[in-house]
C-alpha cells in the first residue's frame, strides 16, 4: 500500500470530505492503487518539455467590465438550503 491510513485521512480533511469508518479501508486500497498506477509517469523523460497550459494554446479572452446579467438573487437563492434577507445562513463561525 503506497498510502497510509493517516495520509488518506489528511487528504480527506484537505478536501473537506468526511469518510465513514467503514469506507476508509476501501479508500486507502483504491487510492493507493491509483497513485501506484500514475507513478509510471515518473520514469518518463520530460527535460526541456513545457507543461501544457491549454489544449489549443489559446490565451484567455477578456471582456469589458460591464454589467451584462440581471439581478436574479431571489430566484437563484431558491436552491439554497438556508437564507435570510438575501444572505446565506451557516453555523456561527465566531464565538
Amino acid at each position: 500500500m503506497s498510502l497510509t491510513k493517516q495520509q488518506v485521512q489528511h487528504v480527506a480533511t484537505l478536501a473537506r470530505l468526511e469518510l465513514e469508518d467503514g469506507e476508509v479501508d476501501d479508500v486507502v486500497k483504491k487510492l493507493s492503487r491509483i497513485v501506484d498506477f500514475v507513478d509510471q509517469l515518473q520514469a518518463v523523460s520530460t527535460d526541456d518539455v513545457l507543461p501544457m497550459a491549454h489544449p489549443l494554446h489559446m490565451s484567455q479572452r477578456l471582456r469589458a467590465d460591464d454589467v451584462t446579467e440581471p439581478d436574479q438573487r431571489d430566484f437563484v437563492q431558491q436552491n439554497a438550503p438556508s437564507t435570510e434577507k438575501g444572505y446565506y445562513l451557516v453555523p456561527k463561525v465566531i464565538e
Partner: protein, 484 residues
C-alpha cells in the same frame, strides 16, 4: 416513426406525414414503456415537451421553424435546464433546479428542438459504465445485464433503444464515444472549445467538451451546426468559423490519408473487436482511402496522465459543493467545518470522492511538481505526437474501446480496470482533438465502434469520413431486437 433518424423525421414533418405533437407523444410512450428497464432517464419532461411540440407545429404552419423545428432531443443531466431538475447523477444535486439554460440547451431550443427529458449518467460524469450514478446503473439495450458504457450511458441507451433519435452528451475522457461504441450508435466529441461549456456542470475544465449521440453521422453534423460557435459566456469557447457540416458530408473518402496507430492493436484489444476494426479500415481503403501506419510513441501514457490532470481539475471544480449556496446540506451541523465535511461526505458517491482525493493529493504541497506538473509535461508530449501524425495523415482511425459491452458489476472492484476502458479515447481529450465513434459491426452479437480522430477543428473531415463509411455499410441501421 421511432426508427427514423432526425433527417428522416424532419422530412416527414415537412411533408406533413405526422405532426410534432404526434411524434412527441409516440416517443414519450416509448420512454414510458421502456424507461424502467433501461433506467436511461432521471427526468422526463412530458408536459413541457408537448407544449414545445405544439409551438413547433404552429411555427411550421407559419413557415418560421428553425433547423431542428419539432425534432426530439434529450439532454444528459449535466446540462443546466431552466426550471428543470439538473442532478448530474449525484445526490448532492438531488434537488437542484437550474435557474438558467446551458448554451447548448438554449441553442437547440432556439432551433426548435423539443426536449423530452434528462438522461442518467455516471455521477459528475466520472465513470465508464454508468454504475456510479446515484440514480442506479443504466442497462444496455443489446443485453440488459450489460453496461451501456459511460458516462453518457443514459443518452446512449435511449438512442440505441430507439426511444429518441438523438441526445446530447459530454466527453472528458471518452464519455460520448465509448458508450456510443458499446451501444452501436454514433458519438461525436468536437474539438475543445468548439461547443460552449456554459451551463455544463464542470468536471475537468481543460478536457470537458459537449457533443452528440445519434444514429447517423448526418444527424451528428446537423446538431453540431446548431451547437457550435463562439459564446461570450464561455471564455474558452473558440472564435472559429462554423462551416456547414451537413454540406461537407458529401466529400468522398477517395484520396483521404488514414493513419492507423501501431500501438492501438497491441495486446489490450479484444481479438474479435480488432478484426471488425480492421475490416472497416479495409472497406475505407476499397473506397479509395489510403492507410498509413503511424506511431504515437507516448500514447501509452495517456491514461495515467489523464488520471492526474482530470482529478486535479475535478478537486478544484467540485469545491463549489459546500452545502451553503445550493445542493445537499447535512442535518444539524456542529460548525462550518462539520457542515462542509458532512454535506460533501454524504452528498458525493465513492468514485467522486476517490477522484477528489486523488486530485487533492497530486496538487498538495510536496507532490505538485512530481505529479501535476509532470503530467502536464507528458500531456504536451502526447499532444506533440498527434501534431506530428497529422502532418502525414488526415484522420487517425482505430478502435473506440478495447472490448464490447461488459457486465454490470464486472469492473467495479478495481478502479484501474475501469479506467483502461478509455485507453483509446483519452488521447483526443488531452490534445483537445475532435473524435467520432461509428458502429462498425458486431462481435458475439454486441456492437463494436470505429473511432476517427482529426486535427483541431477538422470535424468536417471526420464527419464526412464517418458518413461515407455509413454509405458503404449498414451497421448503423441495426438495432436491438427487444426494442424494435
Amino acid at each position: 416513426m421511432h426508427r427514423q433518424t432526425l433527417r428522416g423525421l424532419y422530412d416527414g414533418l415537412s411533408r406533413g406525414d405526422f405532426s410534432s405533437r404526434e411524434l412527441t407523444e409516440a416517443l414519450l410512450g416509448r420512454i414510458e414503456a421502456h424507461g424502467a428497464t433501461l433506467n436511461a432517464f432521471i427526468t422526463v419532461t412530458a408536459e413541457s415537451a408537448l407544449l414545445q411540440a405544439d409551438l413547433a407545429d404552429k411555427a411550421r404552419a407559419n413557415g418560421t421553424g428553425g433547423p431542428l423545428n419539432g425534432l426530439p432531443i434529450v439532454h444528459k443531466d449535466l446540462f443546466c435546464t431552466k426550471g428543470v431538475l439538473t442532478t448530474c447523477g449525484s445526490k448532492i444535486l438531488g434537488d437542484f433546479v437550474s435557474p438558467y439554460d446551458a448554451t447548448v440547451v438554449q441553442r437547440m431550443a432556439d432551433a426548435g428542438a423539443v426536449m423530452l427529458g434528462k438522461t442518467n449518467m455516471d455521477e459528475f460524469a466520472m465513470g465508464s459504465s454508468n454504475e456510479t450514478s446515484f440514480y442506479g446503473p443504466v442497462t444496455n439495450p443489446w443485453n440488459t445485464k450489460l453496461s451501456p458504457g459511460g458516462s453518457s450511458g443514459g443518452s446512449a441507451a435511449a438512442v440505441a433503444a430507439r426511444l429518441v433519435p438523438a441526445a446530447t452528451g459530454t466527453d472528458t475522457g471518452g464519455s460520448i464515444r465509448q458508450p456510443a461504441a458499446l451501444t452501436g450508435i454514433v458519438g461525436l466529441k468536437p474539438t475543445y472549445g468548439r461547443v460552449s461549456r456554459y451551463g455544463m456542470v464542470a468536471f475537468a475544465s481543460s478536457l470537458d467538451q459537449a457533443g452528440v449521440i445519434t444514429r447517423s453521422a448526418e444527424d451528428a453534423a446537423l446538431l453540431l451546426g446548431v451547437m457550435a460557435g463562439l459564446d461570450k459566456r464561455d471564455s474558452t469557447s473558440a472564435d472559429h468559423p462554423v462551416p456547414d457540416y451537413v454540406a461537407g458530408l458529401s466529400k468522398p473518402v477517395k484520396g483521404l490519408k488514414i493513419g492507423v496507430v501501431r500501438q492501438h492493436f497491441d495486446e489490450g484489444l479484444d481479438a474479435s473487436c480488432a478484426e471488425r476494426v480492421r475490416a472497416s479500415l479495409a472497406a475505407l481503403e476499397d473506397a479509395g482511402a489510403s492507410l498509413v501506419e503511424i506511431d504515437l510513441p507516448s500514447i501509452g501514457l495517456s491514461v495515467p496522465t489523464y488520471y492526474v490532470v482530470a482529478p486535479a481539475e475535478c478537486s478544484s471544480n467540485l469545491s463549489r459543493f459546500d452545502g451553503v449556496r445550493f445542493g445537499h446540506r447535512c442535518g444539524d451541523p456542529e460548525d462550518l467545518s462539520d457542515l462542509y465535511c458532512r454535506s460533501r461526505g454524504e452528498g458525493f458517491g465513492a468514485e467522486v470522492k476517490r477522484r477528489i482525493m486523488t486530485g487533492t493529493y497530486v496538487l498538495s504541497a510536496g507532490y505538485y511538481d512530481a505529479y501535476y506538473l509532470k503530467a502536464q509535461k507528458v500531456r504536451q508530449l502526447i499532444s506533440r505526437d498527434f501534431k506530428n501524425a497529422f502532418e502525414k495523415v488526415d484522420v487517425i482511425a482505430g478502435p473506440t474501446a478495447p472490448t464490447t459491452a461488459f457486465a454490470i458489476g464486472e469492473k467495479t472492484d478495481d478502479p484501474i480496470t475501469m479506467y483502461l476502458n478509455d485507453i483509446y479515447t483519452i488521447g483526443a481529450n488531452l490534445a483537445g482533438l475532435p473524435g467520432i465513434s461509428v458502429p462498425c459491426g458486431f462481435a458475439d452479437g454486441l456492437p463494436v465502434g470505429l473511432q476517427l480522430v482529426g486535427p483541431h477543428f477538422a470535424e468536417e473531415t471526420i464527419l464526412a469520413c464517418a458518413h461515407q463509411y455509413q454509405q458503404l455499410t449498414d451497421w448503423h441501421t441495426e438495432g436491438p431486437e427487444d426494442f424494435a
